[in-house]
Amino acid sequence: MRFSYLEPEFLVERNLERCIRCQVCVRQCAFEAHRYDAASDVVTVDSSRCVGCLRCVTMCPTDALIVRQNPTTFKENANWTGRVIKNIYKQAETGGVLLTGMGNDRPYPIYWDHMVLNASQVTNPSIDPLREPMELKTYLGRKPERLDVSVKDGKISLNTKLAPQLELRMPVVFSALSYGAISFNASKALASAAYEFGTYYNTGEGGLHRDLYRYGERTIVQCASGRFGVHKDYLQAAAAIEIKIGQGAKPGIGGHLPGEKVSREVSRTRMIPEGSDALSPAPHHDIYSIEDLRQLIYALKEATRYEKPVSVKIAAVHNSAAIASGMVRAGADIIALDGIRGGTGAAPTTIRDNVGIPIELAIASVDQRLREEGIRHQASILAAGGFRSSSDVIKAIALGADAVYIGTSALVAMGCHLCQICYTGKCNWGIATQDPYLEKRLNPEIAKERLMNLLRAWEHEIKEMLGGMGINAIESLRGNRLHLRGVGLTDSELEILGILPAGR
C-alpha cells in the first residue's frame, strides 16, 4: 500500500544545544532514521523508521537524544486500545501475519512478583555467605530412587553407578538461542561464558558452528523438528542433547528464521540453502505420540552410547503435568519447561501473546505431579520463560525446579534493549543479526565478561538469600515451598502453587 495509516511508534528528539553533529547516530542506526544535512549542518531524524532500540541514545557522546513513545493517542477506549487498532491497520496494509521478537509483553500476572521469601530469625540462625560455605552446586540428570551400598570389614563401598549428569556451578543455564537467530559473536560469548563460569549453554535449533566445538563439554545441543545441523559429530561434541518439542514463545508451532538471516555460515551450520526461510515443522514428523518420543530418546542415547543425558523441552501448556509424567517414563533425563514469557527471534504475535501458561504454575504442577507418582527423582526440571533476576531464580527453585534457563536475561546482559525487531535481522546491538557490519558491534570478549558478571552477581545474591533462610545448600531449598508465601493471590492460585498466603 502506498500510504500507511500508521503513525510512528516512537518519537526521536534531539537537543540542538547539545548536538555536535558528530553523526555517530547517523552511522549507527541500521534503520537509517538519522540523516545529516550537510548544507544546513544539522542532523535530522525520520521517527517513523525508529524501532526504539536506543542505540543512538546510548552512543551519542553528548546525550543529546531522547527516544520516547509517540504521545499521540487515539480517543480513549478501554477495549479498542491503540495497540489493537494499529495491529489491524498493519494487517489491512500487508495481509500478513504479525511478526514479533522476544517474549510475551502483555500484562498477564507475574507470579514471581506475588511470592515472597522467608528469613530465619531467633529460632534458627541465618547464615553469612561471606563467612560460611554456601553451596549452589547442582546436578541435572536421572537419579536412582536409592543406592546400593555394601559394607565389608567396616568399609562402606558404593555399588550403584549413576546415569550421566550435568554438573552446574549454580542452578542457572543459558537457554536455547539459535545461531541464525543470534549472531556468531553472541553464540561465542554465550559458549565461552558458560565454559569459563561452569554452567552450560544451549545451541537452540541452529546447529553448532565448527568454531564452537571446543566448548562442547559445556554445550547442550538441540534436536528440533527441523533437525537443523543434526549429525553425528554434533551429537558427539555435546554434553547433553535436548529434543525440542516446543518453546514457550510459540507453543504448537515450529521455529522460524527469516531468509534474510540465513547467511552463508548459518546455511553451512544448519545444513540448509542460503537465503531460504528456515521454518521448522510444527511437530517432529516422527513424533506423533508419546511412544514415538521414547523411540527418539533411545535412538539418541544409543547414538551417544548412553553417555549423555537427554532432555526434552516442551512449552508450558494446560496438560504440562501429564505430558511431563509421560516424558519421564519415556526416558527423558531432564524435563525442560518453557513458560508463556519465553523469548524468540521471530514468532507470530498472536501466538506469542496468547498461547501457553506462566512458568510458575507449570513448575509447581509438574513438580507436584511427579512427586505424587513417585518419579520425581527420574528427571530434573529445567524451567525457562522470563527469569529476570536472582529472586525469580530462587523462587523457581523453591517451587521445585532443579535449575533455570535464562534467555532474555542473557541477551539483555549482552546489550539487548528489547525492541522486539529481531526478525528483521537488523539488530543494532549486533546480537540478533547476521549482517557483518552490525555483528561487529558485539565484542564477544566484552559480552562474555558481561554474561559472567551477571552470573556472578546472581550467584552472590542467591547465596545471601539462602543464608538468610538458614540454609547452606541449595538442595535444601529445592521444592521447599514452606519458604514461600503468596501475596495477593487467589485461593486456587495458592493451591496450584502449593504455597501458603503471607501471614500464615
Binding site: I20, Q28, M59, T62, P436, K440, R441, N443
Partner: protein
Amino acid sequence: MKRVYAKEEVCAGCRLCEIWCVVAHSKTKDIIKAFNEEFPRPLPRVQVEEFGSFSFALQCRHCNEPPCIEACMTGAMHREAPDGPVLHDADKCVGCWMCIMVCPYGAIARDETLKKIASKCDLCYGEEEPACVAHCPNEALVFEDRGE
C-alpha cells in the same frame, strides 16, 4: 613502547575515537564547547578507515625509525624520549607537508583551515591512556607494548 593497536573485527565504525580525540586536543576539553564554540575546531589525529563492512581506526604508528622526522625540515617532528611517541611542535611547523607525503600509513592529516599545520597523533602524551582507547565503546583499540 606502548602503542595503540586496532582490533578490526570489533570496530563498529562509530568514529567516537575521532570525536574524543578532538575533545582531548581542544582548549576547553568540553565536548560541546569544543565542537560548537571553538574555532578553529581541532582535527582528530585518528581516522577510521572503512571498506564495506570492514573498518578500523588508524593513527600514527610512532615508528622506530620515523620517515616523518627525517623529512621534517624544521625539526617540528621530534621525539622527546628514545622510546616515546613521535611528537609535533606546532610552533616550529611551516606547513610544508613533507611529513604527510612520506608517511607510509597516511596517518598525518592536513589542516585545511590554517593550511599551515599538520595534525598528528601524540598518544595523548602526558595522559595515562590515549582518549581514543579510553572511549572506544567496543574495546576495539588497545594500548599495549607488543615488544615491536
